[in-house]
Symmetry: D2
Subunit: 284 residues, 4 copies
Amino acid sequence: MNKITLLIHCKDRPNIIASVTNFIAKEGGNIVYIDQHVDREQDIFFMRLESEFTAQSFSTDAFKESFKNNLVNGFDMKWRIYSSEVKPKMALFISKYDHCLYDLLGRYNSGELNLEIPFIVSNHLDLKPIADNFKIPFHHIPVTKDTKAEAEDKQLKLLEEHHIDFIVLARYMQIVSEKLITKYPNKIINIHHSFLPAFVGAKPYHSAYKRGVKIIGATSHYVTEELDAGPIIEQDVAHVSHTHSIKDLIAKGRDLEKIVLANAVKLHADRKVMVYNNKTVIFS
Amino acid sequence: MNKITLLIHCKDRPNIIASVTNFIAKEGGNIVYIDQHVDREQDIFFMRLESEFTAQSFSTDAFKESFKNNLVNGFDMKWRIYSSEVKPKMALFISKYDHCLYDLLGRYNSGELNLEIPFIVSNHLDLKPIADNFKIPFHHIPVTKDTKAEAEDKQLKLLEEHHIDFIVLARYMQIVSEKLITKYPNKIINIHHSFLPAFVGAKPYHSAYKRGVKIIGATSHYVTEELDAGPIIEQDVAHVSHTHSIKDLIAKGRDLEKIVLANAVKLHADRKVMVYNNKTVIFS
Amino acid sequence: MNKITLLIHCKDRPNIIASVTNFIAKEGGNIVYIDQHVDREQDIFFMRLESEFTAQSFSTDAFKESFKNNLVNGFDMKWRIYSSEVKPKMALFISKYDHCLYDLLGRYNSGELNLEIPFIVSNHLDLKPIADNFKIPFHHIPVTKDTKAEAEDKQLKLLEEHHIDFIVLARYMQIVSEKLITKYPNKIINIHHSFLPAFVGAKPYHSAYKRGVKIIGATSHYVTEELDAGPIIEQDVAHVSHTHSIKDLIAKGRDLEKIVLANAVKLHADRKVMVYNNKTVIFS
Amino acid sequence: MNKITLLIHCKDRPNIIASVTNFIAKEGGNIVYIDQHVDREQDIFFMRLESEFTAQSFSTDAFKESFKNNLVNGFDMKWRIYSSEVKPKMALFISKYDHCLYDLLGRYNSGELNLEIPFIVSNHLDLKPIADNFKIPFHHIPVTKDTKAEAEDKQLKLLEEHHIDFIVLARYMQIVSEKLITKYPNKIINIHHSFLPAFVGAKPYHSAYKRGVKIIGATSHYVTEELDAGPIIEQDVAHVSHTHSIKDLIAKGRDLEKIVLANAVKLHADRKVMVYNNKTVIFS
């Protein structure tokens, strides 16, 4: 049995749902999941659909071709079709903090994540032992002001060689360049340690402490050229009080960062996220 | 323009979505919302769909008839179709606690609730002034052991006269009888002041205090014959500590009760709740 | 029996707790509550203490005098002493939104708030009926650009005549002037409809919608001259998704605003809040 | 500099706080933390206090002796005094689930936990590699019906040899016997995967699924002879919906279990928990 996931968005107009579901029935598919959303401000229609095909002769490529010919033009759709059996490939970029790394690899090991991790990249060697324990290839690519462009070329080469689908910055402490962002649009997931848009940039826990907030947060978002301003995938917060020092906020925040990033990774890997107007539609 | 809401459930099998969406397209409808769920354990398919019809000649009754003839039998569907313009009629049963009453009437007044409140029933006179302030007819039907059956007949008469669609027990301190439950199956919403199934029955805050729990909760559910055991619509909790007395738990709990009940009422009034196997599917 | 609440803060140094508890024992008091905090960054000591005095001859004024003479100078303390029987007087400033007003008056009525509300002020007449229902004097003081100074003088006169202890801006849509703020430092409580410091200023729900955040929040803080930048008393958030329109965010936000403001009012009225460095210490 | 932590509870009566703080001042101590609680239902007084002593000659043992002679009898106190430098020793009991183990060891490694882990015990060999990676001695003590008593003797021997202060059952799937419980009263911490008192016993996620709850939870408690009925230290919940399968509940629950257990361990290790009447007072 074959199973595909279809994501579309286009200007809203009558009969999109009926046309798509009808097309799938004609192709011999049985829809097992359908969800849709209309942005009434912008008049944009979004849909996510999963369909099973029992015919031996089914081919995802042929289906894509047919979908393109029969539906895409009429509705001027943006669309993506995935074969549900093919797991996306995720590259992990890390630096010196280990909590998100442990968390993601623990989930990966337990089968919680529908993805593959061909390799881990770090600008430091500190966390190599963890990668080794989990038996994931580790590439040490140091980054200095002078070698930044060169380092990025090495990263890009690795990404291409391994046919990476998306990148996760698990507290990778470097700002990634326009070149990488352009190459992987809405495919680089970052975890920022504040409830954005508050406390953009460096040292958000210090800023939170100084402002005397009663909640701290974490935000996972796609990386865009503007710092910490990309489409938000997931956010969560925890309550704090005057008794918490900056060190306490950092410790409490680690728990938020782990869960928020893990949830964002799962949503992306399961192809449940659509991006438009610097916002996300999440079909969860 | 006419708009209908359709809710169906039936044994899962191929092509239900395509058949229904196809049928609606043929009837001239444009689907503006669709959501579905499959219970894989029980193999049951659920769907909620909203469709607009622009034809002058459209009639909800004719559509129902056509739906029944063309689709229901083939799939052995359980189904409900509502005209979206017709607001459901809700009867409020109260006793002496005013917090849920104030909360619901405040929301009603501000236009937050898609429903009508033809009347309020209480076994006490204490809260009549609030009903008067909000200009909602108030019926005082005292209940004693001896007059319980008689009181219920009066309630039933009122409910029928006003074509009531569903009943909300807003901290109504009486146990409603089998007769009423049978007449309004999955149409009587209660708010219980604990996170069910913990602390069933009377005085849950006292039990919570005694057990030393670190969270308290509230649960809104449909009333069935077994006490506090009906299908759960909504639940929420709040953190508490050893510093909270029973009185504190009750005060903190009031805030939970208000919001949990209000959310359940909204979900029901918007026809977003389906019930099966003593559980709910919530299309929110 | 007399009961007093004592709040102090001063530079941290040894033996503050022992000196104060010793002093109270000598004055014949029995300490029934004590809590303390040290800000290690700033080296400031904070304490809140409640003590009962059974002697017929006890006088709060005499106790204050003795406290001042025996302790304050030695430690260079900032201090406040309240007689626990005397409820603080709160003035409510409102405009056209009724949800926080209903919520606070409902709690006031049920005995949940340890305070008195001598009057309500509004720049509009819309909510007068609610004040009337709850039998609280309502003063209509319109505010226009030209009459702003004059209106404020009227407000100040009322505040003084009624010996008001603190002011609550329950979605009062006007910016209060420096004059009022200076007169009531850390005694004007505002509710802002975002998780500050995000979305300062007007229309935060619109900004939240535009940014595509996955949580919305509310913040209660003391009013200072810089807009929405005063010491934060309480914050809370709710999860939202792409399915929520701006109208939905506003409705969901109302529930946050009510609870966050009510909690801040309770904390302040119970003398549990201390302010320093534009932050709060909350002894809850 | 020496620092001690003092925990006391006794029948409530006047002047306890003044007497204790006075005593500590006389002994040359500077109180750096004080918190207290009175259970008004039971009339019991609780206090937690931290004090620093700068004198070279200070000895914790001598202080204990003096405390006992000067204060304990007069107030009939239950008391514990800890030298803050001495970290408690924790034994980890595990079985086949690795998520709580990874989580606790990750925190231990990062310096987040004020404790030592002399060894890990398991009835299975599966998780030995994780213990090895973190370089913590691992003891495999299989448990069968026939060898249960013998296995427990081995466990007890290990616990005694290593002067273990408390035991953490990190999803250890065995019921510990009366003998162990009696030996370590309120010193065995369990994590139960439901919001107790709901869903006591085996397979709580299955029961939660069947009941159709909208929240799931986790509870960390001290082990007593009655199953899942011991004093609750920490609880938390997560929202779920009809879309979650049992497998989803289990995965979501893992995140709760990790954090709830870690928080309980931290509170216990920091001597912030007091137990009475099968409930806890948490000075956090």
